[in-house]
Every structure is written in C-alpha cells, then in structure tokens.
C-alpha cells in the first residue's frame, strides 16, 4: 500500500514539477505569477485530444510513434500559444503595475477555458491513448506504462531544461536577465526576446504535462487546470519560487505528500492538502525548501 502510494505520488509529482517549472521560470524573470499557465496545461491536453487520432490514423501500426508525435506537436503549439500570451499579458503593459499583468493573465486563463468550453464541450472528454497500457508489477505494487511515460517525460523535460539553461547561449541570456535586466541589456542581451522565449518554454512544459496527465488518467475537461495549477504553484513555492531545482523538489514532495494523505482523507480532498501546505509554507518559510533564488543559481 505504502509503496503503491509512493509510486502514485512520484508520478503525479512529475506533472506538478512541469507546471511548477513554468511558474518559476516566468516568475524568476519578470516577477509575474502567470495564471494563463494554468489554461495552457488544459490547452495542451485538448490539442493532443485532436492530434492523437490524426497521427494514429496516419501511422496505424506505430502507436508509440503517433503518441510521441502528438505530444511533441501539442507541446510546440502550446508553446506558440504561450508566446502569444506574453504578447497580450506582458508586452503591451510591461511598464504597468504588476496587478495589471496579473489580471490580464487571469483574463487569458478564463478566455482559453471558456473557448474550450464553448467550442469543444462543457462536459468531460474521454482520452484514449494510442498505445496499449499495461500494468507492471513492482514489489507487490503496480505501475502502468503510461505512468512510466509520465514520469520519464517529466524527468526528461526537466533535464533538457536544465541543460538548455546551463549550457546554451540562450540559457545564459535567460540567467543574465533574471539576475539583472539592466546589465543584461547593456551586455547586448535582448530582454524582450528572452521573456517571450521563456513564456514559450513555460507553456510547452505545461502543455506536455497536460497531454501526459490526460492520457494517463483518461479524462480531460475545460477546468482541469485550475486545481492542478494551484498545486503546481504550491510546488514552486514549496521548493522556492524562482529556483529551478526548487520546482523539482517541490513538485515531487507535494505529489508524494498528497498520495500519502489518501491514507487519512478521501481523494477528492487532496487539493486541501496542497492548500494547507501552501499556507504553512507561506506562514513559516516563505522562501521554500531550497530558498527563493534567481534562475541563474539553479
């Protein structure tokens, strides 16, 4: 039982990590809690819902290839949507008070959700992955293929992000802007391009997370991002807002904590656990486990 909950927690934690990374990246750069991130998770899930059958029909035998293609395409399209979000929620009002940006990113969250509700369906949708899901036994507990995919996907993206930020020229630009926008701009870094790119990266992470979660649990609905978004944010704060490793630690910690809480609480109350964690962290250690840091020290 314990091991089973641990496995479930780690798998769920991977999805929280991806969302937390998105929050942390944007926050680390421009100190904005990007609410639109929440709807991009949902958007990713619905894009995959559209693309998966298309790819599955094009490449009928190779279910896995179709699945991966669907994940990649949905993730990239969500990334483009993320850049568009920056174009509305940040670019035109980048010199306005932060509250304006918060409200506009919130408006985008509601807009994307309600467009999905009106144009696709207000009802929950069944999600069928193009691959056969098998259960593996592990010391008396079970882990499904899709759970493994979700965990692996989360870890892979985190690793790619880390390498990108650490090793690439562009990653260096991001770190420079995060630590000091003025000197970065003096050194020839284009701040605007950097911010747009980070919105795109954050959105891709959220989108892929949405695809993986909806396929693993077989369901998607237009408000699916709200609670998960709250948890992703909690994870980011728990680990230390603005700190990449913090998002990873916070994501997995929260996932495991939440799974363990099912020994005490019915599962529909897991959001309460996240919220309680958020209150406690903010009250007693607002800098989180690893401390609030800028992206450059990740």
């Amino acid at each position: 039982m314990f091991l089973q909950e641990l496995i479930n927690g780690v798998v769920v934690g991977a999805s929280y990590t991806l969302i937390a990374l998105g929050f942390t990246l944007v926050y680390g750069l421009i100190r904005l809690i990007n609410f639109a991130q929440i709807s991009l998770y949902t958007l990713g899930a619905y894009l995959a819902l559209y693309f998966t059958p298309i790819f599955a029909a094009l490449i009928p035998v190779q279910g896995w290839l179709a699945f991966v293609l669907s994940i990649v395409v949905s993730g990239l399209l969500t990334g483009i949507a993320g850049v568009a979000v920056a174009g509305i929620a940040w670019w035109p009002i980048r010199r306005a008070p932060i509250i304006s940006m918060l409200v506009s990113s919130l408006a985008i969250l509601i807009l994307i959700e309600s467009l999905i509700e009106v144009l696709i369906s207000p009802l929950p949708m069944v999600v069928k992955p193009p691959v056969s899901d098998r259960n593996f036994e592990l010391l008396g507990s079970h882990i499904s293929t899709l759970q493994i995919v979700m965990l692996a996907g989360g870890l892979l993206l985190t690793l790619l992000l880390y390498l990108f930020i650490r090793r690439s020229k562009f990653g260096r630009a991001i770190r420079a802007v995060a630590s000091n926008p003025e000197s970065a701009s003096v050194l020839g870094v284009n701040i605007n391009t950097t911010v747009f790119a980070v919105f795109g990266i954050a959105a891709t992470l959220a989108g892929v997370s949405g695809v993986l979660v909806s396929n693993t649990y077989g369901v998607a609905n237009f408000t699916m991002g709200e609670i998960v978004g709250l948890k992703g944010f909690t994870a980011a704060v728990l680990g230390g807002m603005g700190n990449i490793w913090g998002a990873v630690v916070g994501g997995f910690c929260l996932g495991i904590l939440e799974s363990m809480s099912t020994f005490l609480l019915p599962s529909q109350w897991t959001a309460v656990v996240a919220f309680a964690v958020l209150i406690l962290v903010l009250a007693f250690r607002p800098t989180g486990i690893l401390g609030t840091r800028l992206v450059d020290r990740a």
Partner: protein, 624 residues
C-alpha cells in the same frame, strides 16, 4: 440671456451630486414604475452584485490587493444561513451576525500569513481559498447538501412583515447598498482611506509616515470579506436555495472583472461594473451556450490594455468631504504656538490661536519632557554590508533635542544608508540605534515613525493621486486615534479629528509658503516645492526629529537660502534635524554640528568650521 439660461443646466450636467440624486431617485422608484417581477428579480441581483463589487473594490481598488477567491466569503455567508436556516430554523437576521463573524475570522486566517509577503502571493492564496470553499460545499454532503445544496430556509421578513415580494426585497437591498456605499466612502475619505492609498501607491512612503502596512492590508481584506458575507446571507434568503454553482471560481472572476471594468478604486465605477455584469449576463443567458465568460474575459483584457482606469475612473486629487479650502488658508493659525519660541519665528507666522491647537499640543506630553539632558537620537557603532561591500562601518552619531546635525561626505560614503538604518529601512549587522533612550534597532519603520521619527527621501515620495493638502494630512496618520468601525459610522469624534487634521495641514502649508498649491497634485509642483511638501508632511507627524536626505538638491542659491530659514523655523517648533547635503552653504548656515563620512566610516565630528577645515575632509571631499 442665452448664456445665463444654459449655464445652470451645464452646471447640473457637470455635477456629480446631480447624477447621484437622479440615480437614487430612479433606483427608489423602479418597483413602482415596473411591476414585472422578472425585471425586479434582475434588479435585486444587480444590487446584490453591486454590493459585492463595492466590497471587492475596497480590497482591489483601495488597497491594491488582488483577491481571486472573493466569492468564498459570499459562499460562507450563503451557507451560514443555509445551514442555520434549514437545520435550526434561524431567520436571516440571526444569521447575519454569525456570518459576519465567520467571514472575518476566515479573512484573518487567510490574510495574516499572506499579507506579510509580496502582494501577488495573496492572489494565489485567495484562489486556493476559493477552490477549497467550493470543494467543501460540494463534498460535505451531510452538512451542505452537496451538489444539490440547501433549501427550506425561513423566508425573509422584517418585524414580522414579509419581504417575499421582489419589490419589498428590492427596497431592503437598496438600503443595504446605500449603507455599504456610505460606510465605504467614509472610510475612503478618512485616514484609513489615505493609508490604503499610500500602501497601494508607495509602500516605503506609507511606512515612513507610520502606516502599519500589514494592518491596513488586512483591514481592507476584512472590510471586503464582511460585505460579501453579509450579502451572501441576503442572497441565500432571496434565492431560498444555496448550491455550489453560485460560488465557482468563475464567479470570483466575474466580481473582479466588474470592479476592474467599472474602474478600480472608484465607487461609482464599482456599482456601474456590477450593474453592467448582471445586465449583460442576463442578456446572454438566453443563448444556447455560455458566452458570458468569453465576453467578460475579452472585455477585461480590453479594459486592461486600452482603458486601464476603467469606465468611470477614480477621481484624482481632493477626496471626500473635507473643508472647502478656498480662501481658508489666508486665516492661517500658528502651528503649535507654545513651541515656536526660537529664532524670532513668531514674527513670520501669524499668531492667532485656536482651541484645536492647544488641544493638539497638550496631546503630546512627550515633547514636554525635552529641553535639556541627554541625546534624542543616538547611533552606536552601526555597520552594514551589501554583497561584500561594507557600506557603513561602525558609525556613531548623536543628535540632541532641537539640534541640527549635518552629515557630509562624497557620494557612496554611506550617508543615505546611515539614514536608512536610522529610519529602519535597512537593518544594521552590528550596532545600536536609540531614540529617546529606547533601543529601536529592531523596530519596524512604522513603529519608529510612531515614536516621532520622520524622514524625507532623496527623490520626493509624495502620493501622486492625492492633493498636496491631503498628502500632508496623510503624513499625520499616526495622530489619528479613531479605528475603522468608528470611521465607517462617522462619529463626531472622528469628524472633529479629521477636521482638526485638515486645519493643521492648511496651517503647515501656510507656514511653508505652499498655500497656493494646496489643491494641486504633487507631480505638478516644482522639485523644490515637492521637497518642502515632504517637510510639511514630516511636520504633520509631530516628530521629535526629521531626517532630511539632500533637501537642497536641485535648488538654486536663492531657494537654498530660503530652505535654511525654513529649517530654523522647523527647529523652532521643537524638532531636531539630521541632514545630509552636498551644499556647503546650507550646511554652514544651519548646522550645530557636522559629521563627515568617507567610505562608510566617520572621519570627524565636530562644529562646522572644525570639520570643514579638517585636512582629511578637505582632501577626500571638498578638494583643495
């Protein structure tokens, strides 16, 4: 002839009171004009929604806090009545105080851990709180009836008279809306409202004037919660059912959009936004799909991007019901005449005395204790390091009551950092700061201000949307003794306090020669005038000492000379001054003692000529 006939009409059309009167009249007459109960039902909803928006406007518009879970308080109110009414048969009136207490407790529990932090964290906390409340009412089937909700509550009545007809309930709600508007408008035009504005626009300036930021943020959050909780009860009573669908996240979003679309910080804007929301969503309701969230999110984006102040922007400048200030300033009274004893100040300031002044000076026994003896401000060996650079190294300094001490030194010597340590914006790694023989090293900025420590800033930090005179009144924040409930009700004591503060601000402006700009916005003033306004704001605090950060910067020789005279007059009021400046003519003229700093450390302290001729000072700073 033609002109004369048209002018009263134009006057009416430009007068807010006229619109208020017409609006009120129409609002009262609606149930008589429209007998249709469907229309009246919508009118009821409009008022309920307007009370919500007026309440949220306090949180978002006045205090600048983004609350994304406002509907949770509405839900708590609704379910309080739902549970107490359906299970215990309690009526609406009994449920209201219980709901009020519950929402206030909830707002404190959510507010206290969050409001200490950056205010954007509040947004996500409130979002979470809203989700939790929704989740709870949806899942606690045995208590809340789950998704089906609760019904069977007693129908609303007053003194045994039924309020079941939509028109009766309409008038009842209208009265409540009027009470909400009056109470909140009173808060806004009081020291509470000015403190909210200061917190929203400039936290540093707010703290320097002694505003406890967390207290005022929490207060705004509680005022908002209170109205949502009360109107939640009335909503449940009107609907005769409460169910979770009324309290989803989208509802919080709609209240917020109504406030922002109407105009953040504007009461008429909040009401208009609330009315507009119900009208539009009622119009859209007939359609097959739920378009209202699309319409409102697009409208919200449009407003944020194109008209950020909203449809009816909050008024800038003079706020609320104050004294008519035209022509008042001429009869200026002496500021605390009992204290103006030095340097022939009396000759320059009219000496008419008034009762409020005596009362005010009598209210400050602390001042009477001074005159001789020990230092007022003592700094003992303070040090602070920024990222490896020791900005201030073991600096000691003392200022006696009514003494003027100057700190000079090259740029980067650590003078402003020293000022920040004394006023509490920077905490020293080492050393001690004492004010009136009390250790204040660990006190918050606002606590120090409350002890009589005022300061100006290198770049003036006046509140840009308050008139000059209101800025000065805000500076006297700590002298207000009335708390929010008293302000909301508007007791005589509160009115007198406000009146006296305004009188005093007008006197201060007269004393500083700023009477003619009392009603202008600070951003329209010259740099020199803004600096003098900051001095007036400090004086309104009734300080023991004022720290001045480069008051003469940007002034010409004539203005600087006038500033010197002004500082003597300020000292004549019984105030000590600690001054940083590069203008040696000013330093020479006013200083009792001078302390020279270089690279974070004190070089020499002593009387003016000794310090200015000290070889090291000459070498490192003044040049040969």
């Amino acid at each position: 002839m033609h002109d004369r006939r048209s002018s009263p009409i134009i006057f009416l059309l430009k007068n807010r009171v006229f619109y208020l009167a017409v609006g009120t009249l129409v609002a009262i007459l609606i149930p008589l004009l429209v007998q249709n109960s469907y229309v009246l039902d919508i009118a009821d909803d409009m008022i309920i929604w307007a009370i919500l928006t007026v309440g949220l406007n306090v949180v978002v518009g006045f205090a600048g806090l983004l609350d994304l879970g406002y509907i949770a308080f509405f839900a708590i109110g609704g379910y309080t009545f739902g549970i107490l009414g359906s299970k215990l048969g309690m009526n609406m009136w009994e449920a209201i105080p219980i709901a009020a207490i519950l929402v206030l407790v909830a707002s404190v529990i959510i507010g206290i851990p969050t409001l200490r932090l950056k205010s954007d964290y509040l947004a996500i906390m409130t979002l979470g709180f809203g989700e939790i409340i929704y989740l709870s009412v949806n899942n606690l089937n045995s208590i809340t009836g789950g998704p089906n909700g609760l019904y069977d509550m007693p129908s609303p009545s007053i003194f045994g008279l039924s309020l079941q007809q939509p028109s009766q309930y309409y008038w009842f709600l209208l009265i409540l809306l009027a009470i909400a508007i009056v109470a909140i408008a009173r808060l806004r035009s009081s020291h509470v409202g000015r403190a909210w504005l200061a917190v929203r626009q400039d936290e540093l300036a707010a703290r320097a004037t002694g505003v406890n930021i967390v207290k005022y943020k929490l207060l705004a959050y509680m005022v908002g919660a209170l109205w949502a909780g009360v109107v939640g009860v009335l909503f449940a009573a009107k609907q005769t059912i409460v169910s979770p669908t009324s309290f989803q996240f989208s509802q919080s979003f709609y209240v917020l959009s109504s406030v922002i679309i109407g105009g953040m910080g504007s009461i008429p804007g909040a009401i208009a936004g609330g009315f507009l929301f119900i009208l539009i969503s009622e119009t859209l309701q007939g359609m097959a799909q739920n378009y209202s969230s699309i319409v409102f999110s697009v409208a919200l984006l449009g407003v944020i991007l194109l008209r950020p102040k909203g449809l009816i922007p909050a008024s800038v400048g003079r706020r609320g019901a104050g004294l008519p200030s035209n022509g008042r300033t001429a009869g200026a009274l002496t500021v605390r005449p009992a204290l103006a004893t030095e340097n022939g100040v009396e000759a320059e300031v009219p000496t008419a005395r008034a009762a409020p002044d005596e009362r005010r000076s009598a209210d400050r026994p602390a001042r009477a204790g001074y005159g001789g003896g020990g230092a007022l401000l003592e700094v003992h060996g303070v040090s602070v390091t920024f990222g490896g650079v020791r900005a201030v190294r073991e600096v000691s300094l003392a200022v006696a009551p009514q003494e003027i001490v100057s700190v000079i030194g090259p740029n980067g010597a650590g003078k402003t950092t020293l000022l920040n340590i004394i006023s509490g914006f920077v905490r020293p790694a080492d050393g001690r700061v004492e004010l009136s023989e009390r250790d204040i090293t660990r006190l918050r900025v606002d606590r120090r201000a409350q002890m009589g420590l005022a300061r100006t800033f290198q770049t003036p930090r006046l509140l840009p949307t308050l008139s000059v005179v209101d800025n000065i009144i805000q500076g006297g924040h700590i002298n207000f003794t009335t708390e929010a409930p008293e302000v909301a009700v508007g007791t005589g004591r509160q009115r007198r306090e406000e009146h006296a503060a305004r009188e005093e601000a007008i006197e201060l402006l007269a004393m500083l020669g700023l009477s003619n700009v009392a009603d202008t916005i600070p951003t329209q003033l010259s740099y020199g005038d803004q600096r003098r306004c900051e001095v007036a704001r400090c004086l309104a605090l009734h300080p023991k000492i004022i720290l001045l950060d480069e008051p003469a910067a940007g002034m010409n020789a004539q203005e600087t000379a006038a500033l010197g005279d002004l500082l003597f007059r300020v000292r004549g009021l019984g105030v000590a001054l600690l001054l940083i400046d590069h203008d040696m003519s000013l330093v020479r003229k006013v200083s009792d003692r001078v302390s020279a700093m270089d690279r974070g450390a004190t070089v020499v302290t002593g009387d003016v000529e000794t310090v200015l001729h000290h070889p090291e000072v000459v070498r490192s700073y003044l040049g040969t």
